[in-house]
Amino acid sequence: MAKYLLLKHYRGAPASVNDVPMDQWTPEELSAHVRYMQDFAARLEGTGELVDCQALSPEGTFVRYDGEGRPPVTDGPFAETKDVIAGWMVIDVETYERALELAGELSAAPGAGGKPIHEWLEVRPFLTAHSTITE
């Protein structure tokens, strides 16, 4: 088993096929979208493949150290930021192929017109905490 992060982007990923902004959807379309995501997560819990899922606010703040004794400088949100992460799901699956399959399914969540959004999701493997013995 290996864990993968499925990353959803507000901005930064290539455009979806069904690329209508959410605020232009009907309430029913939004509800259908939310239900799809919930059902998807519940099903993965049932198969023993769900680790975690969280939604993130699009608003972020940049922080950095700015010298001894001074407060850290904060700024943002950076309007020009190319990549804004919308949320994630962590899955624990047998194979990489299974991770791709599930990401594809998640990308098919319904959007405007009840049609799949076909949004791009990023799939990133977790680094494990220990090494397999190879010597």
Binding site: M1, L50, T134
Partner: protein, 381 residues
């Protein structure tokens, strides 16, 4: 509260319930319930006969559950009418439990979880912690696994190779959470070796003991990976090494070589060397030849290239490597190592950095990046 005793008794008690007529899933549930009660009650009121206590309580739990389930009424009546055999000798039943939990119809992750619970006696929470997934997810994984094997007859002969694969996967998961899975895998393999004298069970046990013996030297105090050649060999557990070598030798005399015996032989040759320089690389290459013949595994071929590089020089190692697919995991790391030994630090540094980018684990990535940094610093000065 003797948790180790509870773990040891778990498979025995499940086997007894199954022999009395409970199906596997129901028996496993009932034993888990009994274990919970034992954990609560035993510290204040320890039973004189722990096994008898567990059997009695688990059987009562099973009957309670069966009564609550109308669809099971018929079987319950039938079962209660039967003469109940005593605990008696149960070695063979426990062996069947191994086979059932590692059944080929289960995906590896489910087989592992079920084995750890039914044979190993671990709680769902402990297994979930070890695999860093939520308890609810692990609970579902286990109940699906139980449903999958619930139709499998308990007396069907199982496949030893599948059981060994599951145990080795557990061993390689290493150590996270409050359960040492490597130690747990060794315990289960030891028990399996008592009930079956299959030579590959001995091979796997020897391999685990030999790997485990060197575990204290494999990582530094800061968690960093220490390569074999740099390990402090005084940290190796000589008692485990001696035991591993004994188990391996007994298995080898039966002249039925398998991949675990071959791997254990390689591990034994490493464990046998007092210094890295004394390692018998020529013999190690011969064992890798056997391993490649037995498994045709690309990983074995890759490791063989390393051994060839040590036995016949880095050029020979690189030649062996050139015949392998560069997309293999750790191919770049091996190439980097051989190029450095061949006196080409520039290529080695580039390859180490490349290997770090595709490393599967954090300690391995840090180790490879450190190697690249070391060579780059040397090249700059």
């Amino acid at each position: 509260m003797d948790e180790a005793l509870l773990r040891t008794l778990t498979p025995t008690v499940i086997s007894i319930l199954v022999r009395r007529g409970a199906d596997f899933a129901a028996a496993e549930d009932a034993v888990q319930d009994a274990l919970v009660e034992a954990v609560r009650g035993w510290p204040d009121d320890p039973p004189r006969d722990p096994k008898g206590w567990l059997v009695t309580v688990a059987w009562r739990k099973f009957l309670d559950a069966a009564r609550a389930d109308a669809s099971r009424r018929h079987r319950e009546v039938r079962v209660e009418g039967e003469r109940i055999p005593g605990p008696g000798e149960v070695g063979d039943d426990t062996l069947q439990l191994y086979f059932l939990c590692a059944h080929p119809s289960l995906p590896p992750a489910s087989a592992i979880a079920l084995t750890l619970r039914a044979v190993g006696g671990l709680t769902t929470r402990q297994i979930a912690q070890a695999y860093l997934v939520p308890e609810t997810t692990m609970a579902q994984r286990i109940s699906r696994a139980k449903r999958t094997v619930s139709g499998v007859r308990f007396n069907q002969p199982g496949d030893v190779a599948t059981v060994l694969r599951v145990l080795y996967l557990v061993f390689n998961e290493g150590y996270s959470g409050d359960v040492d899975l490597a130690g747990e895998a060794i315990r289960l393999t030891r028990r399996l070796a008592v009930t079956t004298n299959h030579e590959e069970v001995a091979g796997l046990l020897a391999l685990m003991l030999l790997h485990h013996a060197r575990r204290p030297a494999r990582t530094g105090p800061d968690g960093r990976l220490v390569p074999l050649a740099e390990q402090d060999r005084s940290l190796w557990n000589t008692r485990l090494i001696a035991e591993g070598v004994d188990v391996l030798q007994a298995a080898l005399t039966r002249d039925r070589l398998g991949e675990f015996q071959a791997q254990a032989a390689i591990a034994a040759l490493h464990a046998d060397a007092r210094t890295a320089e004394e390692t018998d690389w020529v013999q190690i290459v011969e064992w890798y030849d056997e391993l490649v013949r037995l498994t045709d595994s690309p990983v074995a071929r890759l490791n063989r290239a390393v051994a060839v590089g040590e036995a016949d020089g880095p050029r020979a190692g690189l030649a062996a490597l050139a015949q392998l697919d560069p997309a293999l995991p750790r191919h770049a790391a091996v190439a980097a190592y051989l190029h450095e030994r061949d006196g080409d630090p520039m290529t080695a540094a580039r390859l180490y950095a490349e290997a770090a980018r595709s490393a599967p684990s954090l300690p391995e990535r840090d180790h490879l990046m450190r190697q690249a940094a070391r060579l780059n610093a040397k090249l700059r000065s």
